[in-house]
Amino acid sequence: MFVEFFYELRDMKIPVTIREYLMLLEALDKNVCDANVDDFYFLSRAALVKDERNFDRFDQAFGTFFRGLERRSAEFFDDAIPDSWLRAVTQRMFSEEELKKLEKLGFEELMEELQKRLEEQDKPHSGGNKWIGTGGTSPFGHSGRNPAGIRIGGEGGGGSATKVWKKREFRNLTGEVEIGTRNIKIALRRLRKFAREGAADEFDLDETISSTARNAGLLDVKMRPERRNRVKVLMFIDVGGTMDPHVKVCEELFSAAKTEFKHLEYYYFHNFLYERVWRDNRRGRSEFVPTWDVLNTYPSDYKVIFVGDATMSPYEVTEIGGSVEHWNDESGAVWFQRMIEQFPDMVWLNPESQERWPQTMSTQLIYKLIGGRMFPTTLNGLDQAMDTLRKRNATNLQSIRVH
């Protein structure tokens, strides 16, 4: 009976599975809810949606299915009215002085004011069917006849649960995460290298047995340290300028990386690596760390991850004095080469789409400098990058063993 509803949800890109659908049917079968729509709404939401970010879409699908509403046409209603659009309307409706006064109010009050103002307006705006107004058939405004309408202010829902899904309370929680932190973490996980270090607090059964045997049967308990992730990572992150559109991806990557490694040091640079980097981005690049210090501080078993779009003028890579920010006595390429020599395990993650790499000269230059170890910040790219970091390590070890 609810198969259509199930497909409605799948159409809305809510990840429901047959298992969850069966769970809902089982609950109905056991009379968990009475035969009213409110209860069914609560029950189906608890059974089918497992992420509050999907609540809003669920509300829409529920409304569509149970009220027989026309699916709102995609281009216009894609995600209700964008707040920015409403704000733009507000700006047209109020004078500047009034706006200043209103700015102190929250968004909700602002909308209330807007509605009041709209009510005061001349007739033509009431009862129209196109724009914000009162009593019209437009999807916006209030007291209208369009059942899918977005209520702006108005007398409020009065707490009746029937309208819960129409209120779309969860709109703020909707957020599309293309590569979620979980996925990134799983990818970064490949880098893990376990080693025992620290306080001996784990019971070592094998060692105890052999030691006890050697002790002629007298118990000799052996402890050992717990296995810990021993991967050491240095991250260099490009900030500012052309990187601004990629900030979100970088933040996600960064937050994922932070919890995944025990030793993680990070530095910031602008566009390309020169004789100085900085540690705290918030301090406005006032406290510089000489790149030499970085090179001398960390042993070469640190794995280095550069994150940057590698999009700049080619002079910034190759020329002395090419930096856009300051005069650099040695070219970026020289510094980058030093970095490669100190840290054999190094990759560059590039948030720019891979198709555009060949068109950017600086990207090509850096790609060659790092020996092709540049990867896009997609899940596949991350996987490949981590593989590269891990495998290079393996080949290094082999060559040591051969000698």
Partner: protein, 279 residues
């Protein structure tokens, strides 16, 4: 057997429905929500109101899935064998039961609280799939299988620090505790402070919600912080006019209970200073 909230725990219809569905179908219930909205308290109140025993399992970053089942204390067994203690031959004496085992053994249906599951390793929920599904596990040391006499009600809370695996989510009912609206909040406060004056309550809630509405605040005050604050207001016997007068000119009285972040306090002082200058 239906859960409908308790005298000191105010619930909403959707929360009741989720809890009752989980009880009837004997499936785990995953509860998410802002910190301080009473996620952990839910399990305690459900157990109390339905008269079911409660077993709590608080998760830390080092917790492994098997800690919830049992732990085999090999070291004390070895030591005891050296000292010739009695009962060393019986391996059962050295198996410490975890909260899940206790719950499985219970003659009546029990409530198991798995608190802050997102604190543990990212694979932790996957390691529990079998136990949650079949409500049974086997003890390697004694070769026995522990099966739940009554499938317990599992209430699992998460603070959204990590995303949980899909396979795990599919097996649960899910509820997101929304931040209470003004009238629900009034009920909640009244449950905790039945004698509070209506006017004081109204003013306090106004200040509280306006504080939450300030853009850019780092740590929004939550229900539990509001309750602390009101308690302080009552203890210090501050009257409602003082709160009101203060709210427009400066940061609220005893703000320490509401604002937990240095930057937030600073921002607030700046805002208050600006409004004083304009006013």
């Amino acid at each position: 057997m239906k859960f409908t909230g308790t005298d000191n725990y105010v619930t909403t219809d959707d929360l009741n429905m989720a809890v009752n569905a989980a009880i009837t179908l004997e499936r785990p219930l995953l509860v998410k929500g802002e910190p301080g909205t009473g996620k952990t308290l839910l399990a305690i109140e459900v157990a109390q109101s339905l008269g079911m025993p409660l077993f709590e399992w608080h998760i830390k970053s080092t917790t492994k899935a098997r800690h919830g089942l049992y732990e085999y204390d090999a070291v004390s067994r070895l030591r005891d064998s050296q000292l010739g203690e009695e009962g060393v031959g019986e391996i059962r004496n050295y198996i410490d039961k975890g909260p899940l085992w206790h719950a499985f053994e219970c003659e009546e249906q029990a409530v198991v609280l798995i608190d802050e599951i997102d604190k543990a390793d990212i694979e932790f929920p996957n390691d529990l799939l079998q136990e949650l599904d079949r409500m049974e596990f086997s003890v390697y040391e004694t070769q026995e299988t522990i099966k739940a006499k009554q499938r317990p009600l599992m209430i699992i809370t998460s603070n959204n620090e990590k995303e949980l695996p899909d396979a795990f989510l599919r097996r649960c009912f899910f509820h997101y505790i929304q931040f209470p609206e003004n009238d629900t909040m009034e009920k909640i406060v009244k449950v905790h402070f039945p004698d509070i004056k209506n006017k004081l309550l109204k003013e306090a809630l106004d200040v509280f919600y306006s504080l939450r509405d300030v853009n850019g605040i780092k740590k929004k005050p939550s229900t539990s912080e509001l309750l602390d604050w009101i308690k302080l207001l009552l203890v210090e016997d501050i009257d409602e006019d003082a709160i009101k007068a203060n709210a427009s000119k400066a940061i609220p009285q005893l703000y320490g209970a509401l604002l937990k972040n240095e930057q937030d306090v600073q921002m607030f002082e700046r805002l208050a200073f600006l409004s004083r200058r304009q006013g």
